[in-house]
């Protein structure tokens, strides 16, 4: 055999093993996710939530809302928090160097007045200088912090964390809307199990849905295929990915758009990493690490029921930047915690989740492109029959479609948030079309992110043009 033949055979064999292992692991994640969601649905107890809501000793929640140029959606977002069903709630909006009217809108709408908001936890540092602090006259639990931006969301969250006073800390985005009982649902595991240190809920795109008085009144599938495909992606990531990893206490990511943590768990790891682009995943991994190091029993859980609606990019250019940033951040985070990978002392996280994310999420697009290149080369040289090539493509696409449909099935069976059959059909169509047009673009964006992380490029949070929630101000 020539060197070229050996190379081709090796690449082909590696690609086949890679695909097989990937689909085997992900298949098991899908099954675990379905079982997990089913089990949690059976545990659902409205009475428990009513009792928690009515109880003065329910653990208080501080909600931190980092906002950078969020004038389009900040008011509905804060209104949804003020209307949230939760007995003890503190809302800390951190205006991170906005150049638009974000702060002024809040000051006018909620009658905020300059007041001292002291630092209560000095273990978490902030970098950007604090400009001013405000408290609401009408809503005693509402606080606004105005600070200079250092280009990182994590610094805004840390500034809020240093001043929050409740035992549970929730982070949501400035363009997000919480369902009224979302906090009750996501806080319940903390009441029921002292080992729970972090819990995440589902984030779904609000694009296309109608919002009234800070609530999603009618959940609908967005009009464009780009946004519809993102709805599917979020379902796949949350209802399959996170639910599945959570079932084995190997959850590595709790979305920065909706996650609740025990205050102490955040404080002891020094808050969010100011340098990280994937600060949400970085925080969860750091919490896993510190608890494993002490040999303490702990749980990081995912709940498929509570929902936070968030605006997602509606243009290809903004989406490209976002996905590149995510991939870049994932690469940075895995590099920082590489010593945990394949170390049994870190349990499933170290032995399965992190290697999976490194091999299939971070390097996946590159391996897929290499595999495709090998297959095309094989066809051109006659080493591979064209039908085998097409079969390879077909199976790859079909399995990808199957995973999306499985996520959609979980949503339909367990929750049915999109009430119309037409919406479900559109999402099913988006699942079928996605591999043909969205996936190649996504590969490219992720490869660029991977490249940026390999080069240790420093990046900051990108700007996203917000359209707000259906024109609501």
């Amino acid at each position: 055999m020539s060197i070229l033949e050996v190379t081709f055979t090796t690449v082909t064999a590696v690609a086949i093993v890679y695909y097989a292992v990937h689909h085997l692991i992900f298949g098991s994640v899908v099954i675990r996710a379905a079982l997990h969601v089913g089990r949690e649905q059976r545990w659902a107890d409205e009475t428990a939530q009513s009792l928690t809501f009515a109880n003065p000793l329910a653990p208080g929640v501080s909600v931190i809302v980092p906002a950078h140029n969020e004038e389009a959606g900040i008011l509905p977002s804060v209104r949804s928090l003020l209307d949230a069903h939760y007995p003890t709630l503190e809302i800390i909006v951190v205006d991170d160097g906005s150049t638009d009217a974000t702060a002024q809108l809040l000051i006018d709408e909620f009658e905020l007045e300059p007041r001292d908001v002291p630092v209560v936890d000095s273990r978490v540092k902030q970098v950007g200088h604090m400009i001013a602090t405000y408290r609401s006259r009408r809503h005693p639990g509402l606080v606004l912090l105005r600070k200079e931006s250092v280009g990182r969301r994590s610094d805004a969250v840390n500034a809020g964390f240093a001043r929050c006073t409740q035992p549970l800390v929730c982070m949501i985005d400035g363009d997000s809307i919480l369902e009224p009982d979302a906090l009750l649902r996501v806080a319940q595991p903390f009441v029921d199990d002292p080992r729970v240190v972090a819990a995440g809920g589902v984030v779904l795109p609000s694009n296309g849905s109608s919002v009234e008085r800070g609530r999603v009144a009618d959940a609908r599938v967005p009009r464009t295929w780009l946004e519809r495909t993102q709805v599917l992606e979020y379902m796949r990531a949350f209802l399959v990915g996170r639910a599945g990893w959570s079932a084995s206490n190997g959850l590595m990511i709790i979305s920065g758009a909706f996650g609740v943590f025990r205050r102490e768990a955040i404080a002891e790891v020094g808050g969010l990493d100011e340098q990280s682009l994937a600060e949400d995943a970085e925080l969860v991994v750091a919490i896993h690490r510190s608890h494993r190091a002490r040999g303490e029993g702990y749980r990081v859980v995912f709940l498929a029921d509570p929902v936070c609606w968030s605006e997602t990019p509606s243009t290809v250019s903004v989406l490209a930047k976002q996905r590149r940033r995510w991939s870049h951040g994932l690469g940075e985070m895995l590099e920082k915690h590489r010593s945990m990978i394949l170390r049994p002392r870190y349990g499933r996280l170290g032995m399965v989740t992190m290697p999976y994310f490194w091999l299939f999420e971070l390097w996946g697009p590159l391996v897929e492109v290499l595999g495709l290149t090998a297959a095309v080369t094989g066809v051109l040289t006659g080493w591979v029959d064209p039908w085998v090539f097409w079969l390879f493509i077909a199976v790859s696409f079909l399995l990808s479609i199957a995973v999306s449909l499985a996520a959609l099935l979980v949503e339909v069976v367990a929750f049915g948030r999109y009430q119309r059959v037409r919406d479900t059909s559109r999402l099913a169509a988006a699942a079928i079309l996605e591999p043909f047009w969205f996936r190649p673009m996504h590969w490219w964006w992720r490869i660029r992110g991977l490249w940026a992380s390999l080069r240790h490029e420093r990046a900051s949070w990108g700007e996203m043009k917000r359209t707000g929630f259906g024109g609501e101000a």
């Binding site: 055999m1 020539s2 070229l4 033949e5 081709f8 055979t9 082909t12 089990r39 059976r42 545990w43 107890d45 409205e46 009475t47 428990a48 009513s50 009792l51 928690t52 109880n55 003065p56 000793l57 329910a58 653990p59 001292d116 002291p118 630092v119 209560v120 936890d121 000095s122 903390f190 009441v191 029921d192 199990d193 002292p194 080992r195 094989g378 040289t381 006659g382 080493w383 591979v384 029959d385 085998v388 079969l391 077909a394 199976v395 079909l398 399995l399 479609i401 199957a402 449909l405 499985a406 959609l408 099935l409 339909v412 069976v413 049915g416 059959v421 479900t424 059909s425 099913a428 079928i432």
Partner: protein, 306 residues
């Protein structure tokens, strides 16, 4: 032009063999079938879920009618089918938390007569945790004579969520004699009851004296001692003042903070001396020190600005 011969001397790759072809065809067919089944399942289940919603709401309405008839003093026989009985049980669990006095007693008596209480007891010994939890919820709905023994047993269940459900159920019953059991379960080293669930249940039962919290006051577990302080503060148990002042001297910041909050709630100016002594003495974290200052200011009816 034959690229194969140019590049590799007419080498024939081994991956294209009849065995591989068969496996590949099987994978292709399986993937296609999987996708088709999923598409059908998604669309048909979406449509079916609407039908299921209608059926469930009808069944719930029928169950509600049965329970309203019971409350109105005209108790019918419980339905016989397992699905309908389950609907009645679920509705009774939901409604029982909203009923008081004679209505609740009537419902409990009817549920017991119709065998739901026996069913609940059986469920509370089931293998699966979710069944034990559901059994506990149903048992509370059947509870009129305050016989809480089976619930107390569940406070030490092997599943933490069942323990929490049992605590909530006891809280719902409002039986203050359950408080020592809740405290003991929270302080237990083996299968402890989550302290937050215990605290919330105790507040619900509303004991009238700090003595009811018994061993919690002297617990070496700071979470349990803090719980006692928090409960005493919220329930305004004035006889807890001296115990709370003693807790101010704890070495655990969490306990000191809870005691300070509770003393502020009690509002007895005699506690000011103990707070100021603690402020002078200890090397406390800033947040706890701040809490002591707030409590001290509250006792003097002054708003503290740090």
């Amino acid at each position: 032009m034959n690229w194969q011969c140019v590049w590799s001397d007419c080498w024939e790759p081994e991956i294209v063999t009849p065995g591989v072809e068969t496996v590949a065809t099987v994978i292709l067919v399986a993937s296609t079938v999987l996708v088709l089944v999923l598409v059908l399942a998604v669309v048909s289940l979406r449509a079916l879920s609407a039908v299921k919603g209608v059926v469930t709401s009808r069944r719930t309405a029928a169950a509600r009618a049965v329970i309203f008839a019971v409350i109105d003093g005209d108790p019918p026989r419980a339905p016989r089918g397992p699905v309908r009985r389950a609907a009645v049980a679920a509705t009774a669990v939901r409604l029982s938390t909203k009923l008081r006095g004679a209505d609740r007693a009537a419902l409990a008596r009817w549920l017991t007569d119709e065998g739901f209480r026996h069913r609940a007891t059986v469920m509370m010994h089931a293998t699966f945790a979710i069944s034990r939890a559901r059994g506990a919820r149903l048992f509370v709905a059947c509870l009129a004579d305050r016989e809480t023994g089976p619930l107390l047993d569940l406070l030490h269940d092997r599943d933490v969520r069942v323990r929490a459900v049992a605590a909530r159920a006891l809280g719902e019953c409002g039986i203050s004699s359950a408080v020592p059991f809740l405290v003991r379960a929270a302080a237990s080293h083996e299968n402890p009851l989550p302290v937050s669930a215990a605290a919330m249940a105790i507040v619900h039962t509303a004991p009238r004296s700090a003595r009811g919290l018994g061993m919690a006051w002297g617990s070496g577990d700071p979470a349990v001692a803090s719980m006692a302080a928090d409960v005493a503060g919220y329930l305004h148990l004035t006889d807890a003042r001296e115990r709370l002042e003693r807790l101010l001297n704890s070495g655990e910041p969490e306990v000191v903070a809870s005691a300070a909050r509770a003393l502020a709630r009690l509002g007895d100016p005699r506690s000011a001396a103990a707070i100021s002594t603690r402020l002078v003495d200890g090397d406390l974290p800033a947040q706890v020190r701040n809490g002591l200052h707030v409590a001290f200011a509250d006792l003097h009816h002054v708003r503290f600005e740090s």
